[in-house]
């Protein structure tokens, strides 16, 4: 058999084309040739051709009802597409691989595939990355593996923060809190709630932060935690306009154990005019004021 990848590709293409002399495609033989051709192209750094060979190998595995191998080939093709910076194909290939993994009944690899796609597209196409992260989280939640989704939630929230969509980021942290609550992961849950409050404060939304704090205080695990104390101190400091106290809380060990993105936001607090809050608090009517 010829070792030239191009010849292998053309031979494999012939094997799959139906003609008068060939009434059925030999997918098995063709898939083997496609795989060998892909290895050959990769060895000679012809990544474009290797990508095409892997795509066809994946299709061959699908025709042989072997979705696991097909998914593996698709992932390899997607990795090559990433190397070549063909971003549309990266997303498409990883999605296809994810669907094939779901067909195999394997939720974790399916979610991992989408996670890899999202990570690849974070910088170039953040909106698509967010969608991919969300889909990855949903796959794991449907399979009852909420605990494995924590990292995906955090990554998605950090993308939102980069895009300065603070409300969405806080919402994702609250979703993380819900997932953590299902798994009794109280530490992650409390950290998620504190992160959400800090994100609201960074976005100049003190009211939302207070509402969030009031809602989270209904949860026993959060009520007894260090994160609750830190949040309470932070909000009190905001209401009193005590900038020193805000900075102190932001540098405390409780905040320093959160995600890096949140620590960066916390260190920059207070944003905006804290004294305005203090003045608004002073506008409350005096009891002795009879006007």
């Amino acid at each position: 058999m010829s070792s030239d990848p191009e010849k292998m590709m053309s031979k494999a293409d012939k094997m799959t084309k139906l003609t008068l002399t060939r009434w059925s495609a030999d997918w098995r033989g063709a898939t083997e040739l496609y795989e060998q051709a892909a290895n050959g192209f990769r060895a000679s750094s012809k990544y474009e051709r290797a990508k095409v060979a892997l795509e066809k190998a994946s299709q061959g595995q699908v025709m042989q009802s072997s979705p696991w191998d097909a998914a593996k080939h698709m992932e390899s093709a997607a990795a090559l597409a990433q190397k070549l910076s063909i971003w549309n194909e990266v997303a498409d290939f990883y999605r296809k691989a994810s669907e094939l993994y779901v067909e195999c009944g394997r939720a974790q690899p399916a979610s991992d595939a989408l996670g890899k796609a999202a990570r690849a597209l974070e910088d170039v196409k953040p909106e698509d990355a967010i969608q991919l992260y969300t889909d990855a989280c949903e796959i794991l939640e449907e399979d009852g593996r909420d605990q494995m989704a924590f990292d995906l939630y955090r990554a998605c929230a950090s993308v939102y923060i980069k895009l300065e969509k603070f409300t969405d980021a806080a919402t994702f942290f609250l979703r993380l809190g819900v997932a953590a609550d299902k798994c009794d992961a109280t530490n992650s849950q409390c950290k998620a709630y504190l992160s959400a409050i800090i994100v609201y404060l960074y976005g100049h939304d003190l009211k939302q932060a207070e509402k969030c704090y009031n809602d989270c205080s209904q949860i026993d695990a959060f009520l007894k935690s260090d994160q609750n104390r830190a949040a309470s101190r932070l909000l009190t400091a905001y209401n009193e306009g005590d900038i020193e106290e805000i900075k102190k809380v932001a540098c405390s060990s409780t905040v320093s154990n959160l995600d890096h993105a949140i620590i960066k936001l916390a260190r920059k607090l207070p944003t905006g005019d804290v004294t305005a809050v203090q003045m608004n608090a002073g506008d409350d009517l005096d009891e002795d004021d009879l006007t």
Binding site: Q147, M148, C183, D184, A185, N187, S188, D226, S253, T254, N257
Partner: protein
């Protein structure tokens, strides 16, 4: 100068030069000439002076001076404790003219002296009270560092706990799958062996191979003899 002044001055001079009065010293100690007595007396006078210093330190208002006095008292106490050890050795030594009872009395004197030295106040208990009364800055910093370190440890421990909780079901799943794979492999091996035995036992297999080799060699030999005969025959007939 009046007579009374002269009397006082003479008394002061006598007190100053008392130690040179041999008769008086003999009266004070039973045998004032030996080393034990000399050392005993010097330790006794030192103890008096240390007690006096300790009293001064307790009444001193200036904290720095009080600290210096207390340090001096502690240093002297340590030196006296070493001297008491020497005195103890001298007390048990046999001396000419000394009875057994007197030797035992000397040992008791040494023990009493050691107790007197221990009892001298050197400001430790007061220092201990002051430490807790007004916490000094280095202690505060140390406590702050310890609390920060403990916070970090607590957070690490909680995160590790969560991570372990996450990994435990994965490990269980992996164990189940590996157990399944192991049992499949065992079954496959058993079936393979049965198949091989059914096809051919190992002894028969070896015999088959040997016979095949022998047959192939025989064929070669017959073929070569045929060729030889074919070559030789024309030569013979001619």
């Amino acid at each position: 100068m009046t007579v009374i002044n002269i009397i006082f001055r003479v008394e002061e001079i006598c007190k100053k030069y008392d130690k040179y009065d041999v008769d008086k010293q003999r009266e004070l100690g039973a045998s004032g000439d030996d080393a034990f007595s000399r050392l005993f007396n010097s330790i006794d006078t030192d103890i008096e002076s240390v007690v006096h210093k300790a009293e001064l330190a307790s009444t001193e208002t200036n904290r720095a001076a009080a600290v210096a006095l207390n340090a001096e008292v502690r240093r002297t106490k340590a030196r006296l404790a070493e001297d008491v050890v020497k005195l103890q050795k001298l007390a048990v030594k046999k001396v000419k003219g000394l009875t057994k009872e007197e030797r035992e009395a000397r040992c008791d004197l040494v023990i009493a002296l050691a107790d007197r030295i221990q009892v001298i106040p050197d400001g430790h208990e007061r220092q201990a009270n002051n430490e807790w009364g007004g916490a000094s800055a280095p202690n505060k910093n140390i406590k702050f560092d310890i609390s920060e370190g403990l916070d970090a440890l607590k957070n690490l421990a909680r995160d590790m706990n969560e991570e372990l909780d996450k990994q435990v079901p994965l490990m269980d799943e992996m164990e189940t799958k590996v157990d399944g794979a192991t049992s499949d492999l065992k079954n496959t091996n058993v079936r393979l062996k049965q198949q091989l035995v059914k096809m051919r036992s190992s002894r028969n297999f070896c015999i088959d191979i040997i016979l095949l080799c022998v047959c192939s060699e025989l064929k070669l030999v017959t073929a070569s003899t045929d060729i030889l005969i074919a070559i030789v025959k024309p030569m013979v007939t001619s």
